[in-house]
Structure formats: structure tokens, C-alpha cells
Symmetry: C2
């Protein structure tokens, strides 16, 4: 919970002066949608856009945290500021996430320029992605060079979270036989870097070459080579090469104008999410019009009104009114 004595204004000042306590409070404010979070996001917006956001995803047990920590250490050693957002929407408890933070922070504590934060988000699919996006905005405004967003799993929620990143790295292990399936399930469309971790285990070379052949088609379009790297993150093998590949990807995106395009797509998706949220507030009766929809619902349940015609009627009324704002909207 944000300290009630801390105003949004002083949080913004705290972020500008790189106060880590202000950063932690600001992330909590936006993550929990507390009053004033919209003003805070509006205030920091013009300071965002400098951090490069890379998503790291893959099946459970693939060693993503170890890889993320290795990347963070690598960049911290060369003087870069690194923020980590660990998203685990499948965990129903925030306690575990917070404990995990402390364990990881212990390892990374020798680097004062690394900041790690777990998202304790449990709400809707869209909610996880929105909270991650807004946490990234706050960390971006704080002045990180790199933001690493880590998710567990390869499902729909993970794909939505990855869509708020500038680039995506998917991590596999030889045992995750579902590697190729996961690619077909949609991750191949959004990922640029592929890692086979725990590469000392049997099956690693086969998995890597399988991935390469699946990626062959993708390589023919666009100017990026969609590399498959092999790593042993616990033994620090291949992680320097991975960091180098991510740096090369950043340069590629920046110089080809792709990054601007990616971020415009992110902005359009963000606009849509804001409007969906306002539509939901309008429909869920948090305005004095709410009771009208119950009448429509009754007619639909009675079989007298087709739902699509019902949507037309709501739409017609909506055009004569205005969407309510979420708390904190100006």
C-alpha cells in the first residue's frame, strides 16, 4: 500500500531523483490501481521510451530466472541500469512472489543498479498485461536502460504480457518436448530470439536444430536472422552471447525503424485497452444508467431480443451519453 502521506506529485519527484523507495511505491500504486495512478502515469509519460523492454518467456523450469539474472548482472557490470519485472499470473498468492524477490535480490544485491519486482497480479488476463505495462512505464521513467519482463508458461496470458515488450526471447529446455508446439501456438509470431537452456542435457542439439528448421521460414522475411542460442545459465555458459544477441537486436530494431513501428502498435493496443476499460465501467452499472441493461438482459433471457440487437440498443444510448472515467482519470 502506498503511504497515504505520499502524494503523486512527490512520487514523481522521487522517481526523477532516482529514489528507489519512491519507485517501489509508484509501482504498487499503478499495480493496485490506487487513486491517483492515472495522474502518475500521465505525469511520467513524457519521460518514458528510453528503456528497451525485452520479454523472457518459456515453459516452467526452463531456467528463465537464472537467465534473466545473468543478463542483469552482465549489463550491470558494464554500468547499465537494469529493471526486472517478474510476472507469474498462475500463482494465486503474492507471498511466494515477494519471497522469491528477496532470494533473487540477495544474489543481485552486489549490483546497486539492478531493481527487481514481482507482479502479484491475479485479476483478469488483460489486467496482468495492463499492470505489467504500467509498471514498465514507471520503471522506464525512473531511468533504466534495460527492462527485463519475465513470465512463466506459454499460454494466452504470457502472449499478452509479451505484447507490451519491444522484443521477446523464448527459452526452452531439452525436456520441454512441447517446444515446437508452443511455437506453433503463437509464440513464434512475437519472438525474435530463441534459447535452448540446460544445453548439457541430452536432446539439446536436436531441439536446437528442430527450432532452426521451424524458424527457417521466418528468416526469409524481414532483416533479422531469428537466432537459436544454446546456454547453460547456471554455469554462465552462453549468457554473454545471449546478451550480445539482445544488444544486436536492439540496434537492428532502432536503425531499421522497426522499434518505432513496434511501439506505435503497443500504443494502439494500449488505447484499445483504455477504451475497453471505460466501456466496462459504463456497462457494469457504475453509472446511473446501469439498470437499463438489466431490462435488456431480461428480454434476451426471455428469448424476445437477440443479443446483437441488444448491443445495437446500448450503442445508440451510449452515443447520447458519455463513458464514465476510472478513478484518477481527469
Amino acid at each position: 500500500m502506498a503511504n497515504p502521506g505520499v502524494t503523486g506529485r512527490s512520487l514523481v519527484d522521487g522517481l526523477k531523483s532516482r529514489d528507489r523507495k519512491a519507485l517501489a511505491r509508484a509501482i504498487s500504486l499503478v499495480e493496485n490501481r490506487q487513486e491517483g495512478f492515472r495522474e502518475l502515469l500521465a505525469s511520467v509519460h513524457s519521460y518514458t521510451g528510453r528503456a528497451f523492454r525485452i520479454g523472457i518467456t518459456g515453459p516452467p523450469g526452463a531456467g528463465k530466472s537464472t537467465l534473466v539474472d545473468a543478463l542483469a548482472s552482465h549489463w550491470a557490470q558494464s554500468g547499465k541500469r537494469v529493471g526486472i519485472v517478474a510476472v507469474d499470473p498462475t500463482s494465486p498468492f503474492s507471498g511466494g512472489a515477494l519471497l522469491g524477490d528477496r532470494v533473487r535480490m540477495g544474489k543481485l544485491s552486489e549490483y546497486p543498479e539492478v531493481f527487481i519486482r514481482s507482479m502479484a497480479t491475479r485479476g483478469s488476463t488483460g489486467g496482468v498485461a495492463a499492470a505489467t505495462r504500467d509498471a514498465c512505464s514507471v520503471m522506464d521513467a525512473f531511468g533504466f536502460d534495460w527492462l527485463l519482463v519475465e513470465t512463466v508458461g506459454v499460454g494466452q496470458i504470457e502472449i499478452e504480457v509479451m505484447n507490451v515488450c519491444d522484443a521477446v526471447c523464448v527459452v526452452f529446455v531439452p525436456e520441454s518436448g512441447d517446444g515446437i508446439q508452443a511455437l506453433k501456438a503463437g509464440l513464434i509470431e512475437i519472438a525474435q530470439v530463441f534459447v535452448v537452456n540446460k544445453a548439457d542435457r541430452p536432446g539439446a542439439p536436436q531441439l536446437a536444430s528442430e527450432l532452426e528448421s521451424v524458424l527457417h521460414l521466418k528468416q526469409e522475411t524481414g532483416g533479422w536472422d531469428y537466432p537459436v542460442l544454446t546456454t547453460e545459465a547456471v554455469n554462465h555458459r552462453g549468457t554473454r552471447e545471449l546478451a550480445g544477441t539482445v544488444e544486436r537486436l536492439k540496434v537492428h530494431l532502432e536503425t531499421q525503424g522497426h522499434l518505432t513501428h513496434v511501439r506505435q502498435r503497443q500504443a494502439l493496443s494500449h488505447l484499445e485497452n483504455i477504451l475497453r476499460e471505460r466501456l466496462h465501467l459504463y456497462l457494469s452499472g457504475q453509472s446511473d444508467l446501469g439498470s437499463q441493461w438489466t431490462d435488456l438482459a431480461e428480454q434476451i433471457v426471455a428469448g424476445d431480443l437477440d443479443p446483437h440487437r441488444g448491443a445495437d440498443l446500448i450503442w445508440e444510448r451510449l452515443l447520447q451519453s458519455d463513458l464514465p472515467r476510472a478513478p484518477g482519470d481527469k
Copy 2:
């Protein structure tokens, strides 16, 4: 794919005359959002509302399919018509689902009044739930007494799918130690019947009493007792009792007026989904206004425009126009 020679009109006639081929085609039409699916749904709407929709969910390997088949056989033996919708959004291939259908249809083939259909939906979270809802509407109009909607897993997608059902049954097995966690993660809010399957295995009585103590709080509100049943579905033990419990739940909901309330909530959620879909079409540039949003996105990426102010601007323009319709909308 629907036979191009088959019109929506003749599909509706086919459904009315209980032609199973027409049913299969109509489900494909709505599942794949093919041209005419909206007209089909509008045409059948006044015939829906008679089937009771019960969702069966739980972790992988809990024996849900066996339980669903046992319920279907039980009701078919007493002359009821039973439709089964098996949803597996985690499977990226429809082939497996179709093969599964055939294996299960083989077992259930002695009952001509049982119809089983797997949803090969892969799209967005909302897409899976929408396709399931619309498939249920078509099957409802066809004239089933019971609709069993089966999902794998206990994540966000499953909860959304379960929200299109009138009632929900959650299945656990002694090995699924995450049972209580799953309850806390949101399923307890939407489920009315709880099953410990494979009850011959160690740990079953403990799990059942654990569930009972968690459910104790819930029992104090509302007139339903939220029972915990133990079954061995493969040995047909406890499945008759489960069928009886579900029948008792149906009567409870119908006589207390709860079912009407549940269905009104479903209708409101359906209305919201339709409007979200239209909003998406409007924003994704499938109208000649699309390019305007790119300008806004550019300003947002440049840091000159706060996303929430951008949403205001879109909203103002939207109020002066009209949302485009999806294919098939009148």
C-alpha cells in the same frame, strides 16, 4: 468448413428437424465465425434457454472426460438428450481434439441422443469463451436437455468458459495437491458442486474434508449446500449420485429464481463482449478512419500525448460516427 451450398436458412431448418449433420455444420459456422454466423445465432435465439448448461472443470488428469461420459450415459438411459462440448484451449492442434471425439463417440455411440463436439479454438481468451457460448446456443436450439461443457485446467480461460454455464462442477484427484489453491484462485466463486475423483487413491478422504472445511464459509450464504462428492468414474462408483446432485442443483436454481438471475448476468456479459468486438473492429482500422489512430500512436510514442488523453480524443470522434459491424451483422 460449411458446405457452400448450405444456406443459413436451411441450417436453421435442419436444426429444427434435429438433423445432426446440420448441427455439426452450424457449430462449425459459429465456431469459425464464418459469414452468416450472426444471422444463424439471431434466428435460433428464441429457441434457446431450454437446455441446462453445466461446466465440468479441474486439473489435467482428474478424469473429467470419464465423469462427463458417465453423466451423459446416465441421462441418455433415462431418455434425455445430452450435448457435450469439450474445450481444450491449450491444445494448438485441432487434429487431436477431433481424434479424441471419435474415441469418445465410439464409447457413447450406443446412445443416439448424445452428441459430442470438441472446440478447436485457439484464438484469444475471449474467443474461446465466445465460441463455446455460441456453440452452446446452437446445441440448445437443437433441443438438448443437458449441455455438458468440459475444460482442462483451472486458469483464467477456464473461468471465462465456465462463466457461460448455468452451474459449475470442479473435479479434483488426491494427487492434485493444488486443489485448495485452485479454489482460492477463483473457482470457488463460480462452482456449486465439488468432486474428488479416483477416490480409491490415498489422500482422497483428507482432500474431501479439506474441501469441505474451505467450503464451510460458502455454505452459510445462499440456500445451496455446496456438496463435496467422491467418485471413481472408471468403476462407475458415485457417478449416479453426482447426476442426482446436478439434477437437484438444477431444480434448486429453477425454483429459487436463481437461474434467471444467472442467465441475466450471462446476457450482460455477452452484450459487453459484442460491444468490445465492435470497438476492436473500429480501432483496428477496418474502417476508413483507421489511419487517424496511427497519428495518435505516433504522438504517444514521441511522448507528446498521454495515452488516456489519446483515448479521450478517439472517444470524441467515435461519438460522431458509428461502430462498424462484424461480417454477418445486420
